[in-house]
């Protein structure tokens, strides 16, 4: 092994000492720290800038939307009022109660041993909430109330009057919904007069029937399901 002598060791030591100079290292660390701070500052400035741009764009969008919003707020009650009046007008025209068919059905429903002496009918209109309650929509619902005053004759005149009441309910249930036919309180009384019907003297009963219904057509009964066709046997 050859002997190696470093004649420059002092020069090398001096160079290494200069490389690890704490002053230089402190300077270098300071510069790196400054660069990091500068980088961070620019990063923050960019992100804030983009936020401000977004904010400015939104403000621009808002300046465009604001007049539309004002117009919309002003317009909405007018539109709702117009919509309500349109609906009311169409309902008024289309959902009228027709008295002539009612009178025709009533005349057909009165048997020969019953006589109606007075009819007093009223259309009652109520506002009810609709499905669109949140929008404040209300629908008008009509209820008809008819007070029929009459005389029934028969061997059992009170029974005859009650049968007439039941027949009224049955007949009108075919054409209207929620039909009710009830005697007014204490209105069914035996009459003092006797009547001759087909040569037979019969007792009478006076009554007052309160017939009420909604003009809407009752829902159709459910159609029975078709039974499967019988299998052919060979």
């Amino acid at each position: 092994m050859a002997f190696h002598l470093n004649l420059y060791h002092e020069i090398h030591k001096q160079a290494a000492r200069e490389r690890r100079d704490p002053f230089k290292l402190a300077m270098l660390a300071g510069i790196v720290f400054m660069l990091l701070l500068t980088f961070w500052y620019f990063y923050r400035m960019t992100s804030v800038g983009s936020l401000e741009t977004k904010s400015r764009n939104m403000a621009h969008q808002w300046t465009k939307l604001e007049p539309q919003l004002k117009a919309s707020i002003e317009e909405e009650p007018k539109l709702l009022a117009r919509q309500g009046s349109n609906q009311a007008l169409v309902e008024r025209l289309q959902n009228r109660f027709y008295w002539a068919p009612f009178l025709e059905r009533l005349a057909a429903a009165v048997p020969s041993h019953v006589q109606i002496v007075a009819l007093n009918g009223d259309v009652e209109v109520k506002e009810v909430d609709t499905k669109e309650k949140s929008e404040g929509k209300k629908a008008k619902q009509k209820t008809m109330t008819m007070l029929l005053r009459g005389v029934a004759a028969g061997t059992q005149p009170r029974t005859a009057a009650d049968e007439f009441r039941l027949s009224l309910r049955k007949v009108f249930s075919e054409f209207y919904s929620e039909v009710s036919a009830e005697f007014d309180a204490n209105s069914l009384e035996n009459g003092v007069e006797m009547v001759q019907l087909e040569g037979e003297p019969l007792g009478t009963a006076t009554f007052r029937i309160r017939l009420s219904f909604k003009p809407a057509v009752p829902p159709a009964p459910p159609t029975p399901e078709k039974s499967p066709a019988p299998k052919k046997t060979k």
Binding site: G30, K54, L69, L80, N86, Q87, R96, A100
Partner: protein
């Protein structure tokens, strides 16, 4: 390691002092305004996005109401017909005459007319509801029913809100009838 000279220690101390000053300036004069701007922009964005969201919802709702009126077309046609058919002026001037002619055509000769107080609510712009009591002192059931059928078919704007029929004491077939008719008339400006 090389020992620091006095001069170098002074320089490092001075550099450290300058660094602290710089750091103070960096934090309070450079970063702090940025943070303030960021806070302001963030709160403005939050405020504006809420406002824009609400405004868009309101505008959509209004346009939905505008386009969602299913009765618009029928009502417009009805208003056209009403404007053309309903005479101007007070209903007292033309309604009894019109109804008298109608009942004469139906061979019902006697009628009396009485106006009722007008309802306060005005549902239809330019029009109001007028209520009239029509008394038919002697009418038979069948002609009355026919007349009502024709009236209901011809006069879509009229609706009978109440009907009373009583048998008269004189004749069994002759009745006393009273109808309350509600009709639309032009409201005076």
């Amino acid at each position: 390691m090389k020992k620091l000279s006095k001069d170098q220690i002074q320089k490092i101390f001075l550099g450290g002092m300058l660094g602290i000053g710089g750091l103070y300036y960096y934090c309070y004069e450079m970063l702090a305004p940025l943070s303030l701007r960021e806070t302001a922009a963030t709160s403005e964005i939050a405020d504006l996005s809420e406002k824009i969201k609400n405004a868009e919802a309101q505008i959509t709702r209004t346009s939905k109401i505008k386009t969602g009126d299913v009765h618009q077309e029928s009502a417009s046609k009805a208003y056209e017909v009403m404007n053309a058919k309903i005479p101007n002026g007070s209903p007292a001037a033309w309604l009894p005459t019109k109804l008298t002619e109608f009942f004469k055509r139906q061979e019902i000769k006697k009628q009396n007319y009485r106006p009722l107080p007008e309802p306060l609510e005005r549902e239809f712009p330019g029009f109001k509801t007028s209520l009239w009591v029509v008394e038919l002192p002697s009418v038979e059931f069948l002609p009355l029913g026919k007349a009502l059928a024709v009236l209901e078919n011809q006069e879509a704007l009229m609706q009978i809100t109440s009907l009373q029929i009583d048998t008269t004491a004189k004749e069994a077939d002759v009745h006393h009838a009273q109808l309350t008719i509600s009709t639309l008339v032009k409201s005076e400006k």
